[in-house]
Symmetry: C2
Subunit: 324 residues, 2 copies
């Protein structure tokens, strides 16, 4: 309709300088008249990229993962890249994802959010033949952005030790559908105790599935121990909040009778005055997205980014009432 | 390599019955040998669908929206449909989404999650020329799944009235980047008071931006009122938890001095023993996804699904200490 060939029309629509301005104007006028829209799929296919990045995310409904996704999406959106979401909630979902690989040939890169990829899964992902980046987890095999879980644990337990606590319990949280919580959070506990010459009492270490209700249950077990702990280190804020509920229901006070510290700085930690170790979640997502873009563009990039954590002291920790 | 033409190879790979079994086996053997994978984009393009559904979501990091997305994705995944995620966090994001319409020609349908679409936005969405469904909001113009916000509010305020409260405050939560919280949650307050012959005291109604910290601030304002309320109805659990922090910091007890009720049944409401009105969030997402699939398949479907809410009584509400 513009009196030009298909090739010229295509180049005109794509803004190629090889088309004379007058010709380009004529093509654009026709395109506008007929509400012509370039098919994004067709033009991406012709260029050999998909214009999409896949996110593989467990537990979308949890603050940590939701914040990660929000941060990743905000960076990709500004680069006009679409985000495909693959949720791997439980073990069955996860197996199905790695079996079926629904992202195959649909994405230019994949971001694995907050869970360690097992070796068999890593081999499956190789079939995608795209860049993989890990956000918010410990993934030696992929370029990744995370916190130092050992450091975070050391900050939490160190705080209790420095307040004078000698009877320090730990609630380890395990994701039943994924892998255990970072072992480094537990390792930090044992070395902090050793460093302070506090003997480890195995009765004071309880391992439960991740979650607030499970934290509440774990605390019940800790209150059944003969020598009651004066303080509790929980692997996450939600677990810590569950523990606090049990302490209060047992008629004990936080922090007067038992101090509690978590890890995360969940938004509700501020609202519930919980002492915790803050991890920058949004920043981990943002930096991971920037790392993906740099790698896709072949730019040099630091492929192991570790962001700092720090102690946030609120009202759930205090020196023990009686030092034993 | 299989000694057949391109058309035959394509029909063989797609399982067409017009290809002889022996020929098909030969084509498949070659395809397997060379790890040939059908390009999902190319084959979808040929069929005229994208195989993708877009979700437009504000506030991914909040439990309500994350849960919605998780539920929607789980239904679409089982139907082998990919999910494209568009986050519209603040007003600028939102304007940009409706201006640029990045989902154009990339999706078969769009789900608007948890925010009312304005008229100008609705007109923009028409350009996508795809089915739009609303999940978790009040959207007269689109097929939708939601709760009855008036009923939820009536259940919360009715609970306080039935406990004997006569001085009932309300904290209205407004999303500064989106629209006000459903006016029905406020309307329910005014009619519950009228029904109980309790005069409205405008000083007992405080409107703040959505969030826990804002709830805490609102409660500070309510504690400055001469006639202190004996109970507080908050438009959401997170706002209610903020209010409780302020009450406790002011040296008052919940529920002995002031009762507090929220709406949502956020997972942390259970952990913090908060009385609330439960809304089924996962179910709203699941039902919305099923509605999308039914509409895409041209099946008859109820296009206005309202799910029930109910009171969950925990430990933050009790009869007032002294009835005035």
């Amino acid at each position: 309709m513009a009196g030009v060939g298909l090739g010229t029309a295509s180049r005109a629509l794509n803004g190629s300088p090889s088309v004379a301005p007058a010709t380009r104007a004529r093509v654009l006028a026709v395109a506008e008249k007929y509400h012509y829209v370039i098919s994004p799929d067709a033009s991406r296919l012709a260029r050999g990229t998909t214009g999409r990045i896949g996110l593989v995310v467990p537990h979308m409904s949890r603050w940590f993962f939701g914040t990660m996704v929000e941060a990743l999406e905000s960076v990709f959106r500004r680069a006009h890249i679409d985000v495909l979401l693959y949720h791997v909630g439980d073990r069955r979902d996860r197996q199905e994802f790695f079996q079926r690989l629904p992202a195959r040939r649909k994405v230019d890169a994949l971001v694995v959010v907050g869970f360690p990829v097992e070796e068999a899964e890593r081999q499956r992902l190789e079939l995608l033949d795209v860049q993989v980046v890990a956000a918010g987890g410990q993934h030696a095999v992929y370029p990744h952005v995370s916190i130092d879980d050992y450091q975070a644990g050391a900050q939490a337990v160190g705080h209790l030790v420095s307040l004078g606590h000698r009877t320090i319990a730990m609630i380890e949280a395990v994701d039943p559908d994924q892998s255990p919580s970072p072992p480094a959070r537990s390792a930090a506990y044992y070395s902090a105790l050793e460093h302070a010459a506090i003997p480890v009492d195995p009765q004071l270490v309880v391992r439960v599935d991740w979650g607030g209700e499970q934290g509440a249950e774990a605390m019940g077990r800790l209150l059944s121990v003969k020598k009651r702990p004066t303080s509790v280190y929980a692997h996450s804020d939600e677990v810590a909040l569950g523990a606090i509920r049990t302490i209060r229901r047992a008629g004990l006070r936080v922090p007067e009778d038992i101090s509690v510290v978590g890890i995360d700085d969940h938004p509700l930690a501020g609202l519930t005055d919980l002492t915790t170790v803050r991890q920058p979640v949004w920043d981990q997502g943002r930096r991971a997205a920037e790392l993906v873009l740099a790698l896709l563009e072949g730019k040099p990039a630091d492929s192991s980014i570790v962001l700092p954590t720090w102690l946030v002291v609120r009202s759930t920790t205090a020196p023990p009432a009686t030092v034993d």
